[in-house]
Protein backbone atom coordinates (compact mmCIF):
# COMPACT_ATOMS: atom_id res chain seq x y z
CA UNK A 1 0.00 0.00 0.00
CA UNK A 2 2.76 2.43 0.92
CA UNK A 3 5.53 0.15 2.14
CA UNK A 4 8.06 1.93 -0.08
CA UNK A 5 7.76 5.03 2.10
CA UNK A 6 9.90 3.41 4.82
CA UNK A 7 12.95 2.91 2.52
CA UNK A 8 12.31 6.43 1.16
CA UNK A 9 12.44 7.81 4.72
CA UNK A 10 15.68 5.91 5.40
CA UNK A 11 17.20 7.12 2.12
CA UNK A 12 16.22 10.72 2.89
CA UNK A 13 17.70 10.58 6.40
CA UNK A 14 20.99 9.05 5.20
CA UNK A 15 21.27 11.48 2.28
CA UNK A 16 20.79 14.48 4.61
CA UNK A 17 23.29 13.12 7.17
CA UNK A 18 25.85 12.44 4.43
CA UNK A 19 25.43 15.94 2.92
CA UNK A 20 25.98 17.52 6.36
CA UNK A 21 29.00 15.29 7.05
CA UNK A 22 30.50 16.05 3.61
CA UNK A 23 29.97 19.76 4.17
CA UNK A 24 31.70 19.57 7.57
CA UNK A 25 34.55 17.50 6.12
CA UNK A 26 35.11 20.04 3.34
CA UNK A 27 35.07 22.86 5.90
CA UNK A 28 37.74 21.10 7.99
CA UNK A 29 39.90 20.44 4.93
CA UNK A 30 39.70 24.04 3.76
CA UNK A 31 40.64 25.19 7.27
CA UNK A 32 43.69 22.92 7.12
CA UNK A 33 44.38 24.07 3.53
CA UNK A 34 44.40 20.48 2.25
CA UNK A 35 42.86 19.25 -1.00
CA UNK A 36 40.03 16.91 0.15
CA UNK A 37 40.34 14.77 -3.00
CA UNK A 38 43.94 13.92 -2.13
CA UNK A 39 42.80 12.53 1.20
CA UNK A 40 39.67 10.77 -0.01
CA UNK A 41 40.88 9.12 -3.22
CA UNK A 42 43.25 6.37 -1.93
CA UNK A 43 40.77 4.79 0.45
CA UNK A 44 37.07 4.97 0.04
CA UNK A 45 35.74 6.36 3.26
CA UNK A 46 32.67 5.13 5.04
CA UNK A 47 30.95 8.33 3.95
CA UNK A 48 31.38 7.54 0.27
CA UNK A 49 30.29 3.95 0.85
CA UNK A 50 26.92 5.20 2.09
CA UNK A 51 26.32 6.12 -1.58
CA UNK A 52 25.80 2.41 -2.24
CA UNK A 53 23.07 2.25 0.38
CA UNK A 54 21.29 5.40 -0.80
CA UNK A 55 21.54 4.25 -4.44
CA UNK A 56 19.91 0.92 -3.54
CA UNK A 57 17.22 2.61 -1.45
CA UNK A 58 16.39 5.44 -3.89
CA UNK A 59 16.55 3.18 -6.95
CA UNK A 60 14.40 0.45 -5.44
CA UNK A 61 11.91 2.95 -4.02
CA UNK A 62 11.51 4.64 -7.41
CA UNK A 63 10.51 1.35 -9.05
CA UNK A 64 8.25 0.42 -6.14
CA UNK A 65 6.59 3.84 -6.30
CA UNK A 66 5.87 3.14 -9.99
CA UNK A 67 4.26 -0.18 -8.99
CA UNK A 68 2.08 1.61 -6.42
CA UNK A 69 0.97 4.16 -9.03
CA UNK A 70 0.22 1.21 -11.36
CA UNK A 71 -2.04 -0.36 -8.72
CA UNK A 72 -3.73 2.98 -8.00
CA UNK A 73 -2.40 3.12 -4.43
CA UNK A 74 -0.56 6.39 -5.03
CA UNK A 75 -2.26 9.32 -6.75
CA UNK A 76 -0.90 12.69 -7.88
CA UNK A 77 -3.64 14.50 -5.93
CA UNK A 78 -4.34 14.91 -2.21
CA UNK A 79 -4.15 12.81 0.00
CA UNK A 80 -1.74 11.11 -2.48
CA UNK A 81 -2.26 7.70 -0.83
CA UNK A 82 -5.67 6.17 -1.54
CA UNK A 83 -5.47 4.25 1.75
CA UNK A 84 -5.65 7.59 3.60
CA UNK A 85 -9.31 8.06 2.61
CA UNK A 86 -10.73 5.46 4.99
CA UNK A 87 -9.60 4.75 8.57
CA UNK A 88 -9.67 0.96 8.06
CA UNK A 89 -7.48 1.20 4.98
CA UNK A 90 -5.17 3.63 6.81
CA UNK A 91 -4.58 1.20 9.67
CA UNK A 92 -3.95 -1.60 7.16
CA UNK A 93 -1.46 0.65 5.36
CA UNK A 94 0.34 1.48 8.61
CA UNK A 95 0.52 -2.23 9.45
CA UNK A 96 2.01 -2.96 6.05
CA UNK A 97 4.54 -0.16 6.48
CA UNK A 98 5.49 -1.53 9.91
CA UNK A 99 5.96 -5.08 8.59
CA UNK A 100 6.88 -5.07 4.88
CA UNK A 101 8.30 -1.54 4.81
CA UNK A 102 10.63 -2.04 7.76
CA UNK A 103 11.51 -5.49 6.41
CA UNK A 104 12.54 -3.92 3.08
CA UNK A 105 14.66 -1.24 4.77
CA UNK A 106 16.32 -3.81 7.04
CA UNK A 107 17.04 -6.27 4.19
CA UNK A 108 18.57 -3.57 1.97
CA UNK A 109 20.69 -2.31 4.90
CA UNK A 110 21.85 -5.85 5.71
CA UNK A 111 22.82 -6.48 2.08
CA UNK A 112 24.73 -3.17 2.08
CA UNK A 113 26.54 -4.23 5.29
CA UNK A 114 27.46 -7.49 3.56
CA UNK A 115 28.82 -5.50 0.59
CA UNK A 116 30.88 -3.37 3.01
CA UNK A 117 32.27 -6.46 4.73
CA UNK A 118 33.27 -8.08 1.41
CA UNK A 119 34.83 -4.80 0.26
CA UNK A 120 36.85 -4.45 3.48
CA UNK A 121 38.12 -8.06 3.23
CA UNK A 122 39.14 -7.50 -0.40
CA UNK A 123 40.93 -4.26 0.48
CA UNK A 124 42.83 -5.98 3.29
CA UNK A 125 43.75 -8.85 0.96
CA UNK A 126 45.03 -6.41 -1.68
CA UNK A 127 47.13 -4.53 0.89
CA UNK A 128 48.65 -7.75 2.26
CA UNK A 129 49.41 -8.95 -1.30
CA UNK A 130 51.20 -5.67 -2.10
CA UNK A 131 53.20 -5.84 1.13
Amino acid sequence: MACFLVPVAEATAITIIRKIAEHNQQKNHSALKVNPEEILSPNKTFLSETHWLTNLLWGGSALLAFEHVWHGEVTPWFPFLTAMREPDATSEMLHEMATNGIGMAVLVTLVWMGMLAVNRIRQKKNISEVQ
Binding site: W58, G59, L63, L64, F66, G103, M104, V108
Partner: protein
Protein backbone atom coordinates in the same frame (compact mmCIF):
# COMPACT_ATOMS: atom_id res chain seq x y z
CA UNK B 1 6.58 -12.60 -12.05
CA UNK B 2 7.45 -8.93 -11.52
CA UNK B 3 10.20 -9.98 -9.09
CA UNK B 4 11.52 -12.50 -11.62
CA UNK B 5 11.63 -9.98 -14.47
CA UNK B 6 13.36 -7.34 -12.33
CA UNK B 7 15.81 -9.91 -10.94
CA UNK B 8 16.73 -11.10 -14.45
CA UNK B 9 17.20 -7.46 -15.49
CA UNK B 10 19.46 -6.89 -12.45
CA UNK B 11 21.63 -9.89 -13.36
CA UNK B 12 21.90 -8.80 -17.04
CA UNK B 13 22.81 -5.20 -16.07
CA UNK B 14 25.39 -6.37 -13.53
CA UNK B 15 26.94 -8.64 -16.19
CA UNK B 16 27.05 -5.71 -18.66
CA UNK B 17 28.58 -3.45 -15.98
CA UNK B 18 31.24 -6.09 -15.22
CA UNK B 19 32.14 -6.82 -18.84
CA UNK B 20 31.69 -3.42 -20.55
CA UNK B 21 32.47 -1.10 -17.62
CA UNK B 22 30.53 1.89 -16.42
CA UNK B 23 31.15 4.22 -19.36
CA UNK B 24 27.41 4.48 -20.01
CA UNK B 25 26.47 4.72 -16.32
CA UNK B 26 24.98 1.22 -16.38
CA UNK B 27 25.50 1.13 -12.59
CA UNK B 28 22.41 3.37 -12.25
CA UNK B 29 20.31 0.52 -13.66
CA UNK B 30 22.09 -2.04 -11.44
CA UNK B 31 21.29 -0.08 -8.27
CA UNK B 32 17.65 0.39 -9.28
CA UNK B 33 17.04 -3.24 -10.22
CA UNK B 34 18.89 -4.74 -7.24
CA UNK B 35 17.17 -2.33 -4.81
CA UNK B 36 13.74 -3.13 -6.21
CA UNK B 37 14.52 -6.88 -6.28
CA UNK B 38 15.41 -6.86 -2.58
CA UNK B 39 12.28 -4.90 -1.70
CA UNK B 40 10.00 -7.15 -3.76
CA UNK B 41 11.67 -10.17 -2.21
CA UNK B 42 10.33 -9.03 1.17
CA UNK B 43 6.89 -8.62 -0.42
CA UNK B 44 7.20 -12.13 -1.88
CA UNK B 45 8.07 -13.63 1.53
CA UNK B 46 5.12 -11.83 3.13
CA UNK B 47 2.82 -13.12 0.39
CA UNK B 48 4.21 -16.65 0.73
CA UNK B 49 3.59 -16.54 4.50
CA UNK B 50 -0.02 -15.67 3.73
CA UNK B 51 -0.76 -17.96 0.76
CA UNK B 52 1.74 -20.84 1.27
CA UNK B 53 1.73 -23.22 -1.76
CA UNK B 54 -0.83 -21.12 -3.60
CA UNK B 55 1.85 -18.47 -4.06
CA UNK B 56 3.57 -20.71 -6.65
CA UNK B 57 0.40 -21.39 -8.64
CA UNK B 58 -0.94 -17.99 -9.65
CA UNK B 59 -3.84 -17.66 -12.06
CA UNK B 60 -3.10 -16.96 -15.73
CA UNK B 61 -4.69 -13.51 -15.42
CA UNK B 62 -2.49 -12.60 -12.42
CA UNK B 63 0.62 -13.82 -14.22
CA UNK B 64 -0.21 -11.81 -17.33
CA UNK B 65 -0.87 -8.70 -15.26
CA UNK B 66 2.37 -9.17 -13.30
CA UNK B 67 4.36 -9.73 -16.51
CA UNK B 68 2.92 -6.55 -17.98
CA UNK B 69 3.82 -4.71 -14.76
CA UNK B 70 7.34 -6.19 -14.74
CA UNK B 71 7.98 -5.10 -18.35
CA UNK B 72 6.62 -1.61 -17.57
CA UNK B 73 8.91 -1.37 -14.52
CA UNK B 74 11.91 -2.28 -16.69
CA UNK B 75 10.92 0.36 -19.27
CA UNK B 76 10.43 2.94 -16.48
CA UNK B 77 13.93 2.15 -15.14
CA UNK B 78 15.37 2.48 -18.67
CA UNK B 79 13.74 5.90 -19.04
CA UNK B 80 15.27 7.04 -15.71
CA UNK B 81 18.65 5.66 -16.84
CA UNK B 82 18.60 7.43 -20.23
CA UNK B 83 17.67 10.75 -18.58
CA UNK B 84 20.52 10.26 -16.07
CA UNK B 85 22.90 9.39 -18.92
CA UNK B 86 21.98 12.47 -20.96
CA UNK B 87 22.18 14.75 -17.91
CA UNK B 88 25.64 13.51 -16.87
CA UNK B 89 26.90 13.18 -20.46
CA UNK B 90 29.89 10.92 -19.54
CA UNK B 91 31.25 10.82 -23.11
CA UNK B 92 31.08 14.62 -23.38
CA UNK B 93 29.01 14.60 -26.58
CA UNK B 94 26.94 17.66 -25.64
CA UNK B 95 30.01 19.49 -24.31
CA UNK B 96 31.90 18.84 -27.56
CA UNK B 97 28.96 20.16 -29.59
CA UNK B 98 28.73 23.22 -27.36
CA UNK B 99 32.43 24.01 -27.71
CA UNK B 100 32.26 23.46 -31.49
CA UNK B 101 29.33 25.87 -31.70
CA UNK B 102 31.27 28.37 -29.58
CA UNK B 103 34.27 28.13 -31.93
CA UNK B 104 32.06 28.69 -34.98
CA UNK B 105 30.38 31.71 -33.40
CA UNK B 106 33.80 33.16 -32.47
CA UNK B 107 35.01 32.83 -36.09
CA UNK B 108 31.85 34.49 -37.39
Amino acid sequence: MTLLIVLISAVICTFLWYTKGNACRISTLCWMFWGASLMWLVDAFAEYAELHEEYFTPSAEDMLNDTFLGCSVVVFALVIWIIDLLLHDPKGIFRKKKSALKEVSEHV
